[in-house]
Structures are given as C-alpha cells and as structure tokens.
Amino acid sequence: MIDLLLASAITLSVPLVLAALGGAIHRRSGTVNIGLEAHMILGALIGAVVSGATGNWAAGALAGLVAGALSGLLMNLVITRLKGNEIIVGLGYNIVMFGVIGYVLRAVFGVSGTLQVDGLQRMPKLVIPGVADVPILGALISGKDPLFWLCVVLVPVLAWLLRSTTWGVRLRATGASEPASASLGLRTLAIRDGAGIVAGALAALGGVALSLGTVGLFNENMTAGRGYVALAAFYFGRSKPLPTALACLLFGFFDALQIRLQTVGGFNADIISTLPYIAVVVVLAFTGIRQHYRGARALS
C-alpha cells in the first residue's frame, strides 16, 4: 500500500518537477513564468503527435522539447522586448495556447478534446532487476520512465550550472539586479530570453511526461493546472533546484494521496488540491512580513 502510494507520488511529480525546474530557472533570471501551463500542454500535444508519426517516443520527446523552447522564447520576447507585464502576458498566453490547441484539435484532427494517436509509442518503464522487488526502494526507483531519470540528473546538474558556469552566474546576477548587471556589460535581455527558452523546453517535457507516460494519449485538459502547481512549487522552493524538486515531490504526494483516498472514500480531492496554493500564500506572507519589519522606511 505504501509502495503503491510512493510509486504513484513519484510518477505524478515528474511532470511537476520538469515544469517547476524550468520555472525556477526563469525566476532566477528575473521573470515569473505564468505560462508554464501553456508550454506543458503544447509539449504534450507535439510529443504525442510526433511519437505517433515516428513510432518513437524519443523523437516525440525531442519534438516536444523543441516546440516548448520556441514557445518559451515567443512568450518571453513579448516580456523582454515589448516590455509586457509578465503576469498578464503569461495569463493571456495560456488562454491563446489552449485556444489554438482546442481549435487545431477540432479543425485539423476533427476530435473534440481527446486525441488518440495511432502508432504512439509510450515511454518505456525501466525496471531495474534486483531492485524492483526491494520494498520501498523498488517503488521509488524501479519501473520509472526515462524522464524520471532526467529529473534525477537535472536537479544536481542545474544546481551546478547555476553555481559554476558563466551562464548560471550571469543569469542569477541578471535576476537579482538587472540594471547593475547591464552596467557590467551583461546582455541581460538575451540572458532572460535564454532562461525563457529553458523554461519552455522543460515545461514542455513535463507535458511529454503526461502524454507519453502512463496514458499514451492527448487530452486538452490533461495538464489540469499542473503549470500553476509548478509555479507554486518554485515559489515554495525559493527557485533553488533541490528544494523546488522536493516541493514537487510533496505536491505529487498530495496528488497520489488524493487519488488513493478517492478510491477508499473519505477526504475530498478538491481540498487536497488546494494545499500547494495555500502553502505558497503562507510562504509569501511569512517572508513578506519578515522583510517588512526589517525595512526602515515605512509607508504611512
């Protein structure tokens, strides 16, 4: 029972981790990405379609990644080059993307909502011989898809990139103080665009994890607000890779618990779904109030 719960928590958190890490990188460069949901759903669709066309899940994932990168760039250009407010642009971008995808599903594929792709290859489940039967550990790491392992690799790699590469240091500098960074000759807009590309690409991979994971089809509602949960996760994890990923695990666990309790009966799923958002409000309130009492200049 606990094995099942853990296994499902991990499976459910993979899309979250990918999207949230992308959002965290973007946040570190100074932009709050409200459009993660849009990048995810695009990745899910492109991943499913290309996997179906090629019969190869890896090609699907790659195509999803590229589409997400372009989508991330497109949205970010409006923010950096046209100085659009990141929140409004993100909200609007989500509406447009879901509109376009809903439209294309009906106008091009002739389906409403759900797209069954012929010949779609799902991601393989990597069963680790020997470990699979170990209690807990087996549930934690055996039988996972490649994107799970990507997450495992990505967390330390991103942390290292942020710490030890010119890209990472310049990105953090830009996010912390854009004018100061610009005065030191950094191309801050390009740096932010780059972060937007990464956010789009990773969130789209999160979408791929949804469509090429357990279900193997595409549905226009399949992200179900995960982009916003990812947003909550990187706020909760202060945009650091490991804490962000851990927040996703926590939220994934909530999700698994909720499904579990639904079958058992009892506590309501909708209430549990609000926990990530409540957590963010609490964190924001806490840090905000603390900062307020540090400031000397008080607004009457």
Binding site: S164, T166, V169, G175, A176, A180, L186, A296, R297, S300
Partner: protein, 529 residues
C-alpha cells in the same frame, strides 16, 4: 595582466605622458544651469588627484564627462595628452578608464568573488575556474593591502567592503584610471581610512586615481594634486604642501561675502517643535542620524546646513514621519508625535515640502487641482465622504492663488508646469492651512533665479504667519539670507548652531567637520577630526 605586487603597469610609459586624463576648456549646461564653465583639469599618470568644491560646483558633471556618460557642449576631454570624444562609457573603458559611482553595481545575491569576476569569468567552455578566480582575487586584495573574505555573500558585507570590491573589479577588468565620486561619503571614519590606504596602494602600483571629496583632511592627507571647483569653474590647482585646511576651505566656499540684500529676520516666539536625541538609519541600515537635538520656534526660520550625505535628508523624513526614527523624542507643542503616522502629524500641524518634488512633492500625472487638495485636510472639503465641488474649487483657487502659480487650467496635469511653478503649487498647498511647523527640504532645487526669490517670499510669509519653518538647504547663501539660526549637521550629529548672520566661512568650517567656536544651544559631542 600580470599580478605581481606593486607592479608598474606596462601600458604607457608614465614619463612620456603628461596628462593621463583631463579636461580642456570644458563647458556644459543643463537648460539655464551652467554646470561647467571652461573647466580645465590635468591629472598626471600615477597620481591621486582630488577634486573638491561645494554641492553644485560641477564636480559630478565633470566626472560623468571623463567617463563618457555625458559629453561637453564646448571644450574636450583629454586622454593621454590627446583631445578625444568619449561618446560612451564603452569608449572610456577601452581607454582603461573606470568609474566607481555612488550607486554601487554590487549584486547582493552573489558572493563577493562572483561579483568580482561577473562578466569576465576565468575558465573555458562556460565553466568557471573558481580556483583561478579565487587566486586572482586574493592577489588583487593583497596587492592593495586589504583583507576580503571573497566567499562571503555580498548582501551580508558592509558597504565599505562592497566598495572595495567594486574598485578591485575595475582593476580586475584592466582599468588604470579610477574615478571615484565621493567614495568616503557613505563610510565610517575607520572605513574611510582603509579606503584611502587602498587608493594610495593603487597609486603606488602606478594607477591614476581621481576622487571627489568634501572631507578636507583626507584630501590633504592623500592627494598629490587638488583642483578646486566653484560654481562650475576651475578656481585653482594646488598641492597639499602649499595650503592648510582653512585656506582650502576658503577656496571652496569663496571669500566673497553676500551682497547686502535686504533680509528681514523673523520674530521668534515660543518653542513649537522639540527634537531630542533623534537617531535613524538609512535604507541600507547605515546610521545616518545620531542623537540629533534641537528646538524650532514659532515665527522663525531654522536653517539646517550640511554637506550631502550627512543626515539632512533623513532628518527631514524623520520629522514628517516618512522615515521611522530608531530612537529619540519628537514633540509638537509639548505633545509627543514621534510615534504618529504622517497623517496624524499633518493633522497636528506639520507640513512638508519634499526635496524630491517629482516623486514626493507632486503627483505629476494628476491635475493641478488634485495636487492642490491632496492632504488629510481633504476631509474639510467633503461631506459624508463626497467631495463638495464648490469647496474643492475654492480651495484650488486659494492654493494656486496664494502661490501665484502661472497655469492654463486647473485640470492640466502637474507635469505641464515648469519646475518653479510646480514648486509654487507645493508651497501653496503646504502653507494654506497655516501649519505650526513647515519642513521645507531643498525647496529651491532646480528652480531658476526668479522663481527662487518668490519661493523665499512664500517661506517668509509662512514664518510671519507664525509657523516654525525648518529649512533644509544645500545653498549656504540661501540659508544665510533666510534663517534666524542655522543648525549644522556633520556625520549625523549637530556640529553647532550658528546665528543666521554667520559668514560662509564659519558655516563651511562646521559643515566640513570643524568644531564650532560660535555659541551652541547645547554641548556638542566631541567631533572626530
């Protein structure tokens, strides 16, 4: 770049170049204000050159042009004996010129080491070689004799350390001319000494340093040459051996006394505002006011004089309540107001003319009418929460009329007026309610000569109507013309209180950190000299 201690820079043979950087006949005007008039400056390679002068003497304008942030209207910048056009900071950097501005480009979220190498990180293929960076950083700090914990987070280090890192970053990036705009203004005395040590190490290593300062002791102790600017003109160039402090101060403020303008003095009555042991910190947490005490009387103008950065700004903000004081008592007519909100203080009879007219004095996007009525007294113009149009119109007419504002329509945005007229709106609004205390901070900043006279008249009128006017100004002549008494702040403390008739030299001495020989209201704590 080689890294040996006290290295000589290989770039240009110092003996061959006479003027590493300088100015020839530079003039620069901003509208009617002539910031620089025919300024000449010669900075020899491998020297420390101080530029001194009052606020508004044109020092910062000159420095900006030497760094390519601004270009002269006439004359030109000299680099390596050559007249050139520095069209941008980039061009200056190519000539190995670096500027340390008062606003430091230090990123708090990064470590000091990350801040040092940011933009020019050592390493290959995007990977930063932190070992090499650390080694280079240590060599740099050792070569100038400062100790820096490079792994510390910038947010947790003092501004003095941050400033050292900013200077070393310029060196790291290859600058051999360093321009510093009032680097010691934000530092405590010990920190300032350390900075001066750093600057002389840089000079000893063959670099050229230009720095602006108001602190004559440090100028005399470290500079090889001193250029004095006054009213945008070069007054003289000296060497420290040729002159003492008093002589230098005389050059700075000028020995010309005021022409005898008819000045009416006030008729001081009872004490209205009483401040006792006020202390406060600035936005960065640095102590800016340290036990300031004074009294202001009805019917007088109390001038507050200080060199910028000595706590004037913070004192004005503490009085009106925008800034919280960390300790001390403030009372109005014997009633404690130190814990009150701005709203309550204004209701109790305080009024405020902000030094920052564009952000705090006016809402530039709102109409003149809106600007005229914005205050807690708005309530008087309303019934049950609704503004009475006739009362509003009457008040707007009274405010704009009182200050004789020249305007088209009261519905025009405040941004449509000239600076002087904008300030009249502010003064009209702030004095219409016959305040007990009028706090006026730099009321004539950015106002032309004609406008200044009128604003002075409005201040006097407020005084004659019984207000205690607390006038903060960087213009000594303005303070002398208007004030009954002048309180001088130095490093956040009261350096002395002088009579309004005192000479520029007497006030200047106190502002620059000398102890007062004049009568004090109360004993002044011993000043650091």
């Amino acid at each position: 770049m080689s890294t040996a201690r006290a290295e000589r820079l290989p770039s240009s043979d110092p003996a061959a170049v006479r003027c590493r950087i300088g100015a020839r006949g530079i003039s620069r005007s901003f509208g009617p204000v002539r910031a620089n008039v025919d300024v000449t400056l010669t900075v020899r390679p491998g020297t420390v050159h101080a530029v001194v002068g009052e606020n508004g003497a044109g020092k910062s304008t000159l420095m900006r042009m030497l760094y390519g942030l601004d270009q002269p209207d006439a004359g030109s910048v000299i680099v390596d004996d050559e007249e050139i056009l520095l069209s941008s900071p980039r061009a200056a950097i190519e000539r190995r010129i670096g500027l340390v501005q008062q606003e430091l480009a230090i990123i708090p979220e990064l470590s000091l080491l990350e801040n040092l190498v940011l933009g020019q990180e050592p390493g290959a293929f995007g990977r930063i070689d932190w070992k090499a960076a650390q080694k280079r950083a240590e060599e740099l700090s050792r070569s100038v004799g400062v100790a820096i914990d490079w792994s510390a987070s910038a947010a947790r280090t003092s501004i003095a350390i941050q400033q050292q890192v900013e200077i070393l970053r310029l060196v790291y990036r290859g600058a051999d001319v360093l321009i510093l705009d009032e680097p010691t203004a934000v530092l405590a005395p010990v920190q300032a000494d350390e900075l001066l040590g750093l600057l002389s190490s840089l000079r000893d290593a063959g670099r050229t340093v230009i720095f602006i300062s108001h602190k004559l002791d440090e100028v005399l102790s470290i500079a090889d040459h001193i250029t004095v600017l006054r009213s945008g003109r070069t007054i003289t160039e000296l060497e420290p051996g040729e002159i003492d402090r008093a002589g230098l101060a005389a050059f700075i403020v000028g020995d010309s006394e005021m022409p005898n303008r008819p000045t009416t003095r006030g008729n001081p009555g009872t004490v209205v505002l009483h401040a006792d042991a006020i202390s406060a910190v600035d936005d960065r947490g640095v102590t800016r006011l340290d036990g300031v005490a004074f009294e202001a009387r009805a019917g007088e103008i109390l001038g507050i004089a200080a060199v910028a950065g000595n706590g004037q700004e913070e004192l004005a903000e503490v009085l009106i309540g925008i800034r919280a004081s960390s300790s001390g008592e403030l009372s109005l007519d014997g009633q404690g107001i130190g814990r009150m909100s701005v709203r309550a203080r204004r209701r109790a009879g305080l009024a405020y003319v902000s030094a920052d007219r564009k952000q705090e004095g006016l809402a530039l996007g709102l109409s003149l009418a809106d600007n005229s009525i914005a205050s807690p007294a708005l309530k008087e113009l309303a019934r049950a929460g609704w503004l009475r149009p006739s009362a509003v119109a009457a008040r707007v007419d009274a405010v704009l009329g009182r200050a004789a504002v020249r305007f088209g329509s009261a519905s025009d945005p405040a941004s449509s007026l000239s600076g002087g007229n904008q300030q009249r709106v502010v003064l009209g609004r702030e004095t219409i309610g016959k305040p007990r205390v009028l706090i006026a901070s730099q009321p004539t900043r950015g106002v032309d000569v004609k406008g200044i006279g009128y604003i002075h008249e409005l201040l006097r009128r407020a005084r004659d109507e019984g207000a205690a006017v607390v006038l903060f100004s960087e213009e000594l002549d303005e303070l002398r013309e208007l004030s009954d008494r002048i309180l001088v702040l130095h490093r956040g403390r009261v350096a002395g209180v002088l009579d309004g008739e005192s000479s520029r030299a007497e006030i200047g001495e106190l502002m620059l950190g000398h102890t007062s020989h004049a009568s004090h209201d109360r004993p002044v704590e011993g000043e650091d000299a």
